[in-house]
């Protein structure tokens, strides 16, 4: 068993004391990010990239990449645990994938069963997280062996599919999402061209030679934009519901176990799909639970399945989302796009070659996710009351400090004021654009995938002597392009027919 052998090595890496520490820091910050308003998983990860770069500065490149990504991945799935806390206790989701949890979770809290809801959310998240990881283990190797046979034409089309999927589901207006994606791709061409060394759109300004740095853009658009939004929508004080007893009863378990199982499976497969991700999966799981229940009228009045299902689903989806990221190098959501930016910053290119070239990094990270999920379960059960206190952090102090951390982080990595100005501009633009339904996720994705798209385009066209038919004459490539087209066209058609289309808003 190759996989088991690799996994065992991964555990050796993940169980190194400093990697345990990194995983711990990651999940604790992730939980906090999930709880704190004004900062979601994508901005949390974006904000922490510079800081992890600083923390891992002294290690050798491969160890630095492993530890850094262990921490950042911890933030990503940790936020899925934390997000439920505020949904349940104050009816205010800390991030978008826990919106649906508030429906029944808050009702449970009002009935004095808040602690039970929190425990079930944590247990469900844990089981779903482990399930997603096991599936990741089973699927990663075979998928990467398949993907390794892809040539540049197939890869180009695959990237197009990834972009189309995220864009198709990204917001209310398809054309706005497409504009944002194209703008992101365009931004990625600025700087010195890697293949020829020619400067593009640099206008002889030295700061532009390196291009518009991904981290700067991500921190600006996600973190700053979100802080600006929170300052404007300053919504007074919330009262926290009583937590009460933590341990679920036998009946609670009986009710929620099937919901957790369904949520895990559904969430995992939705998570793999490009463009879908945790938010969508939690909505779908809630609908599924309500439809499959014998007593659907209990939903919205504190049904424990309404917490268990979606919370399992969003965590399974965040595990599932790691598959396209690690195996294909195509992030399927805003947060995984930011994670991919982190891989690239450490000079580790996600994709089929990842498992061959950087086994230590990838298996270390996978193993650490087992450890991290366990930490989260342990942290979340007894310490939930401590974490819940975070909700009371006064925004007066929290928001300015987040701004100061943005400035520190970007400056620490780039060491010039140009990037600070760029970050500020992105922050203001990000706020204005999101306010008017221009989704940010496609832009970030475009910036991350731009270089990959262009390189494969040029390589494919060099192979075919400039003939664009190569993308259609290769069957896999043609199939991927057709799927991409459907992903854009079908939602538009459905909307035209007056059907409601679920979209990933916020994030």
């Amino acid at each position: 068993m190759d996989t088991l052998h690799f996994l065992a090595n991964g555990f050796l890496v993940a169980l190194q004391p400093y990697n345990l520490a990194f995983a711990f820091i990651g999940v604790v910050i992730g939980t906090a990010v999930g709880i704190l308003p004004g900062i979601g998983p994508s901005s949390g990860v974006a904000l922490l990239i510079p800081i992890t770069a600083v923390l891992t500065g002294g290690l050798d490149p491969e160890a630095a990449a492993t530890s850094g990504i262990i921490l950042l991945a911890g933030v990503f799935y940790g936020a899925m645990y934390g997000g439920s806390t505020t949904s349940i206790l104050i009816n205010t989701p800390g991030e978008s994938s826990s919106v649906i949890t508030a429906l029944d979770g808050y009702q449970m809290a009002k009935q004095g069963r808040g602690g039970v809801a929190l425990s079930i959310a944590a247990i469900g998240s844990f089981l779903a997280g482990i399930f997603a990881l096991v599936m990741l283990l089973l699927l990663a190797q075979p998928l990467s062996e398949l993907a390794i046979q892809f040539g540049p034409a197939e890869y180009f089309s695959l990237v197009v599919l990834g972009l189309a999927a995220v864009t198709g589901l990204a917001g209310k207006s398809m054309i706005k999402a497409l504009i944002m994606m194209t703008a992101g791709l365009a931004a990625s061409t600025i700087g010195v061209d890697a293949l020829t060394g020619v400067g593009r759109f640099t206008f002889e300004i030295p700061s532009l030679y390196q291009g518009l740095e991904f981290i700067t853009i991500a921190v600006g658009f996600f973190a700053l934009g979100e802080v600006f939004r929170t300052i404007l929508d300053n919504n007074g004080n919330e009262t926290i519901a009583k937590i009460g007893r933590l341990l679920p009863t036998k009946k609670d378990f009986r009710d929620s176990v099937p919901a957790i199982a369904r949520g895990s499976i559904l969430g995992f497969f939705v998570g793999i799909l490009p463009g879908a991700g945790p938010t969508l999966s939690s909505f779908m799981s809630y609908t599924l639970e309500k439809k499959s229940s014998k007593t659907p009228e209990r939903f919205g009045k504190g049904a424990i399945e309404g917490v268990a299902g979606p919370e399992s689903a969003n965590n399974a989806a965040s595990g599932g989302a790691m598959i396209p990221l690690l195996v294909l190098g195509i992030p399927s959501s805003a947060t995984t796009a930011v994670l991919m930016g982190a891989f690239i910053m450490y000079n580790v290119q996600p994709g089929p070659l990842l498992f061959e070239k950087y086994p230590t990094v990838v298996w270390g990270v996978i193993a650490s996710m087992f450890v991290g999920n366990l930490m989260l379960l342990i942290l979340n059960m007894p310490l939930i009351k401590v974490f819940a206190k975070l909700v009371e952090t006064p925004p007066q102090y929290l928001l300015p400090i987040i701004l100061a951390i943005c400035v520190f982080g970007v400056y620490a990595v780039q060491v010039n004021v140009f990037n600070l100005v760029l970050m500020l501009v992105c922050g203001i633009l990000g706020y204005l654009l999101v306010q008017n339904d221009f989704p940010v996720a496609p832009l970030i994705l475009g910036r991350v995938l731009g270089p990959m798209l262009e390189n494969n385009l040029r390589r494919a066209l060099t192979l075919s002597d400039g003939d664009y038919i190569i993308f259609l004459s290769h069957p896999i490539s043609a199939f991927l392009l057709a799927t991409a087209l459907l992903w854009i066209v079908v939602p538009v058609l459905l909307k035209k027919r007056g059907r409601k289309v679920i979209v990933n808003e916020a994030e």
Binding site: K172, A186, D193, F201, L424
Partner: protein, 150 residues
């Protein structure tokens, strides 16, 4: 439907960017390096696509219906002040050095958010700015602008 005015401005802005991008990519020097697909192909294509998408968006804004104006009470004054503070912070970042500029920014921002608890604001600002500087520069040997040399 979106905000008509903003969407028109944004559509116009993206249109200009698209056109400039397409025009700019003609200026990218072609390399002698073999293939027909040089460094300008991709940006040119993007510029053209962006141009067409923006025209599409502008066209769409004419189909927007009359807008129901649901003005929410939003704290624009607070945000503008915070933005001003942030601009000053970035402008003075390298001149004043990390500790002083961060301290001033945080103190100002705390007070803009809520004009109370001045002492606590001072303490937190001082603690954060000095703490980050100590941890990053002294412990991790990173580089941040130090104190100004007076």
């Amino acid at each position: 439907m979106g905000n008509k005015v903003f969407d028109r401005c944004a559509g116009g802005a993206f249109l200009v960017v698209g056109l400039l991008f397409a025009r700019g990519s003609f200026k990218i020097s072609e390399s002698a390096y073999g293939s027909q697909v040089g460094p300008s192909t991709f940006p040119l294509g993007l510029g053209i696509i962006l141009t067409f998408l923006s025209i599409g968006l502008l066209y769409q804004t004419f189909t927007y219906g009359a807008q129901a104006k649901a003005k929410q009470q939003k704290d624009y004054k607070k945000l503008s002040l915070i933005l001003l503070a942030l601009c000053l912070y970035i402008a003075l970042f390298e001149t004043l050095g990390y500790v002083i500029s961060t301290f001033l920014f945080l103190l100002a921002a705390f007070q803009i958010m809520d004009r109370s608890k001045l002492l606590l604001s001072v303490v937190i600002s001082a603690f954060f700015s000095a703490g980050v500087y100590y941890f990053y520069v002294v412990t991790l040997q990173g580089s941040l602008p130090a104190f100004p040399q007076w």
